[in-house]
């Protein structure tokens, strides 16, 4: 898919300043802009797959046991006998949906695309520190995507232990069929993915630290770069821990070790493993897992900071506080992981410590929200599609953030842990916010990627359908969870046996949720169409379409190697001089020297 798209767009914008072969320009490219686009296209493909999977299992949840042509069309007799989704495949779909969304769309896709595209352009560098490693990072990502995608098609089905793949379920093929080859592929794919992420992150860090152009002090970097920087550090520190968790699991599966296994009898077989701890896996997993949620979120916040400042025509409020919050969130995200484990039987005192640290993280999050609000206040807001999505992000970040406070309260978490309330929380705060941030980024920087502008009206329609669909899906889901519905259940009609009141509520809400999910998914067709159509036929963009101050808009529309045809620009001011008093234009690019008597912000 990705390859096809590259080929296809070989027709335009090769006015050939350099004689480059097709392969080195579009496939094994070492140019950061091209690599960014490769990440984006691969992630879009994976995102579409994951979204389709979610529609498939939502059909089962809304109309349990009813035959559906849609299901048999995609899953065939094996996994949807008679058009009814099989129990095992339900778990497989949920697992791969979660994995792709979190890792492939929102980590690889979001960081990969925008860190690559924007870091050199916004700090004023000719390219990444290592073009070769950067290329490698993409191709590892590509391979891991292929592996994950292929695991959907094997005989015993994909991994079925949930995206968190807790052992022993994920370690024992006897426990569920997806823990056979499917899980092996999952682990292989993630191992390659982690390699990709590490190489990429190291490259981002080195580039930001070493290749800033003259005048680009750390405190003059746009917040996007700060966000990418902290994200990359989080990745470098936490992904290796996931790798070790995965390797130990691999060993338990293949080499007969007992890191996570103890005293188990599964389908009549008495295993000899003794002394391991499944809880150890959870500690390792969440030591990555929690920073991971910020790896997903921070880039989205960074992108939207830029979009909101530009389109409010105001400096982002509290620039230094924003940097401080990003760093505080980054730091705190390493010491909160066990809030995912309050009911694993861990020491209650330890639980208290994690309650405390978790609630601390709400403070920098709140600061960010208030700063966004103040940025809008008395602005002169231009509603580009990117701006709409950025505002949507702030809304979902608030709505999802506040429910985190409930979950962080260990006492309350006892009764809502692993219910749909949690599912609603993290979809709103992480899923929606990051997706909105990503869309904002795509609409805003599309001109930088393809030299053209996406269609605005379709963008509007896309946004309104998406936000209505998204809230329509996840608002009701909180109430399903408050009623106590466990997550990862194939069929909630079991409630009929003991509580008909809850059953009725759940079935009502599940239908509402699925209908909104279908609406939202259909809305994404507008985006896909707009995206691909605009690559080829969109109106050509001027150099600085949004009247922005940052350096990427000082590069020519036609991509050139080394980004700037002549000398690198010199930076004289911070990136947020919008509507500065005393200036007759409402934006002053970073490379404009201070006027006589002008003070830096």
């Amino acid at each position: 898919m990705a390859a096809v798209a590259h080929e296809a767009h070989g027709h335009h914008d090769d006015h050939g300043h350099h004689e480059e072969s097709f392969v080195s320009k579009y496939i094994f490219s070492q140019d950061h802009k091209m690599i960014g686009k490769q990440f984006l296209l691969t992630a879009v493909f994976m995102g579409v797959v994951a979204m389709l999977l979610s529609i498939l299992f939502r059909i089962q949840l809304a109309w349990p046991g009813e035959s559906s042509d849609f299901l048999s069309f995609f899953l065939g007799e094996k996994w949807a006998p008679g058009g009814v989704l099989s129990e095992d495949m339900y778990l497989g779909l949920v697992t791969i949906h979660g994995t792709i969304m979190v890792f492939f769309l929102l980590t690889g896709g979001l960081s990969g695309t925008f860190s690559n595209l924007l870091i050199p352009l916004q700090v004023g560098a000719r390219d990444m520190a290592s073009g070769f490693l950067n290329m490698l990072s993409y191709w590892f990502f590509f391979i891991s995507s292929v592996l994950m995608f292929c695991s959907l098609f094997i005989e015993t089905g994909p991994a079925m232990a949930g995206w968190t793949i807790y052992p022993p379920l994920s370690a024992l093929p006897q426990a569920v069929q997806g823990s056979g080859l499917g899980m092996t592929l999952w682990l292989a794919s993630m191992t390659v993915f982690i390699a990709s992420s590490l190489i990429g992150s190291l490259n981002y860090i080195v580039t930001i630290l070493n290749l800033r152009t003259k005048g680009m002090a750390m405190t003059r970097m746009p917040l996007t770069i700060w966000a990418f920087f902290v994200t990359a550090i989080l990745g470098v520190l936490s992904f290796p821990v996931l790798l070790s968790a995965a390797l130990l699991l691999m060993m338990d599966r293949l080499a007969g070790t007992s890191f996570y296994l103890s005293d188990i009898i599964v389908s009549g077989e008495m295993l000899t493993n003794h002394g391991g701890s499944p809880i150890l896996y959870q500690h390792l997993f969440w030591f990555l897992g929690h920073p991971e949620v910020y790896i997903v979120l921070l880039p989205a916040l960074g992108l939207s900071s830029e979009v909101i400042a530009t389109n409010s025509r105001k400096p982002i409020f509290g620039y230094r506080a924003m940097i401080g919050s990003i760093m505080a969130i980054g730091f705190l995200s390493f010491i909160v992981w066990a809030h995912h484990m309050f009911v694993t039987g861990m020491n209650p005192f330890l639980g208290s410590v994690f309650v405390f640290t978790t609630l601390l993280i709400a403070i920098p999050s709140a600061v960010k929200v208030f700063n966004y609000l103040t940025t809008l206040w008395k602005g002169s807001i231009v509603f580009t599609p990117a701006m709409l999505f950025a505002i949507g992000l702030v809304s979902t970040f608030i709505t999802g953030g506040v429910t985190g406070i409930i979950l962080a309260d260990a006492a309350l978490d006892i009764s809502i842990h692993d219910t749909y309330f949690v599912v609603a929380h993290f979809h709103v705060v992480m899923g929606l916010s990051a997706v909105f941030g990503m869309f904002a980024g795509v609409y805003h920087w599309f001109p930088k990627m393809y030299g053209r502008v996406m269609n605005t009206r379709l963008g509007y329609a896309h946004f309104w359908i998406t936000i209505i669909g998204a809230y329509g899906v996840f608002f009701p889901m909180h109430f399903v969870g408050l009623a106590g519905a466990p997550r990862r259940y194939y069929d909630y009609t079991v409630y009929g046996e003991f509580d008909s009141g809850s059953l009725e509520q759940m079935m009502d809400l599940n239908v509402i949720i699925t209908v909104f999910a279908m609406i939202a998914a259909t809305g994404q067709l507008l985006f896909l169409f707009n995206f691909f159509y605009s690559i080829f036929r969109g109106p050509v963009s001027p150099q600085n379409p949004w009247n922005s101050t940052t350096l990427e808009w000082t590069t020519p529309v036609e991509h050139v190697h080394g980004n700037w045809p002549g000398e690198l620009p010199t930076v004289h001011r911070w990136p947020y001089d919008y509507s500065k008093p005393g200036s007759d234009v409402d934006f002053i690019p970073q490379d404009v020297p201070l006027a006589e008597g002008e003070e830096e912000h």
Partner: protein
């Protein structure tokens, strides 16, 4: 097949329709001569209004959901600590709902109010220390309150159970729950997973007594799939075994060889006085009966993968982890009958669900829970512990203890005195 074609046709037609619309739109915008990136005042104002409109839809939708579904499924708590937790949950909800309304209101209202107006310049306002201080300190104070209340409840909920709390074990396996009451002595018998026998045999829960150790050794050595049988099969030249089959059997044999050593060690170390702890335990499937207003300490175990014991109505949950015993305590304080009246649903039952993904039938893994008034509970429990005898001293109801399951022959109807002597003999003094 037809539907597949229809689906494809719809997709193709949809794409063509959008393409046509785009073309028309492109032509019209060429006429207008403005770039795609320049947003017209009309579009700006339209979106500003949509922002405000959306806010009302969002708030309206939330309020509607809250009123209609807010507490329906959850219902009121049925345990002592559950009431406190629900109070705390409500306090937290009041706080977060206020924040939700306030900040979302400001967001959408500002988006609406400060839309670009020709000739009006944005207000340059890069930072303000006092404001920033305020919205760091205020959340911090609110959170401090939340933390203090929260930890108080957390500490109470997870504190050790009182010594007199009734001990009950909940054993989880793919895909069912089994309960074990601790019986007269209120002490649960010891267990070891290596003693596990097939389901539907007395020692499914792997309780450790002198006989169960011997039983396990016997079965591992001489059972149908015991070591002797395996060895014989592997060495038999007459029968063909496929290579996979052979390697599977060899692994199985290896495994049993290492397990049997451990079993012999266990036998050597076992102290017979421990047997009594297990003998009076009562194993109970399908339905868990609890006594109102009695504190329970549940001990959780798992046979295979992680499960989670989730009692939504008692606001209780704890994972069950293979190789580890976890605990949770609560005191039910509303009987099933009372809850049925309260909920106006005569078929309502309390439930224990599995709340950790554990395989294909995860969603079906549950156990009914019935809370009885003390009198009714005793009437149910008493015969389980002691059985019932008629005037001749014959059992009309045998006790349901582990001892009975292990030694049914001892409880055949005989003269009372005989039985009592035999039973007394077979239970070692503590």
């Amino acid at each position: 097949m037809v539907t597949k074609l229809v689906i494809l046709a719809v997709i193709i037609l949809g794409v063509i329709a959008i393409a046509q619309m785009m073309r028309v739109y492109e032509l019209s915008s060429k006429l207008r001569k403005t770039g795609e990136h320049e947003i017209s005042n009309r579009d700006n104002r339209l979106n500003a209004k949509m922002m405000l409109g959306f806010m009302f839809v969002l708030f309206g939708g939330f309020i509607w959901l809250m009123l209609k579904y807010g507490w329906v499924g959850r219902g009121s708590a049925a345990s002592v600590h559950g009431h406190d937790l629900d109070w705390l949950l409500n306090v937290n909800f009041v706080i977060i709902i206020a924040v939700f309304f306030l900040t979302n209101f400001l967001l959408f209202f500002y988006a609406y109010k400060y839309v670009k107006r020709p000739g009006v310049k944005a207000y340059y306002f890069p930072h303000d220390n006092r404001l920033e201080m305020a919205w760091t300190v205020v959340p911090a104070v609110v959170l401090a309150v939340i933390i203090i209340f929260g930890l108080r409840e957390w500490n109470q909920a997870t504190d050790e159970a009182a010594p007199e709390a009734i001990r009950v074990e909940l054993f989880s396996k793919q895909f069912a729950w089994v309960a074990r009451y601790s019986g007269m002595d209120n002490k649960l018998g010891k267990f070891d997973y290596k003693l596990t026998q097939e389901a539907e045999t007395p020692n499914e829960l792997a309780l450790m007594t002198t006989e169960t150790i011997d039983l396990a050794i016997e079965e591992m050595e001489n059972g149908v799939t015991g070591m002797k049988a395996l060895e014989a099969e592997l060495n038999n030249q007459e029968i063909m075994i496929s290579p996979e089959e052979r390697s599977k059997k060899t692994t199985d044999l290896r495994r049993k060889e290492s397990l049997i050593r451990l079993l012999y060690q266990m036998k050597k170390r076992h102290v017979t006085t421990l047997d009594a702890l297990a003998y009076d335990d009562i194993i109970q499937k399908d339905t868990l009966y609890l006594c109102k207003n009695k504190e329970y300490e549940f001990n959780f175990r798992s046979k295979d993968v992680i499960h989670s014991a989730y009692f939504p109505h008692f606001r209780a949950q704890m994972n069950t982890v293979p190789g580890l015993t976890t605990r949770f305590k609560f005191t039910p304080d509303k009987s099933t009958a009372e809850m049925r009246v309260e909920r106006n649903d005569e078929n309502f039952e309390y439930i224990l669900m599995c709340n950790k993904i554990c395989g294909g039938s995860h969603y079906k893994m549950k156990m009914f829970v019935v809370v009885l008034e003390e009198e009714d509970y005793n009437a149910w429990m008493e015969p389980k512990m002691n059985g019932v005898k008629d005037l001749d001293g014959n059992w009309t109801v045998k006790p349901s203890t582990f001892h009975v399951a292990l030694h049914p022959e001892l409880y055949e109807n005989k003269k009372v005195e005989e039985v009592e002597v035999e039973v007394a003999d077979s239970i070692p003094a503590e």
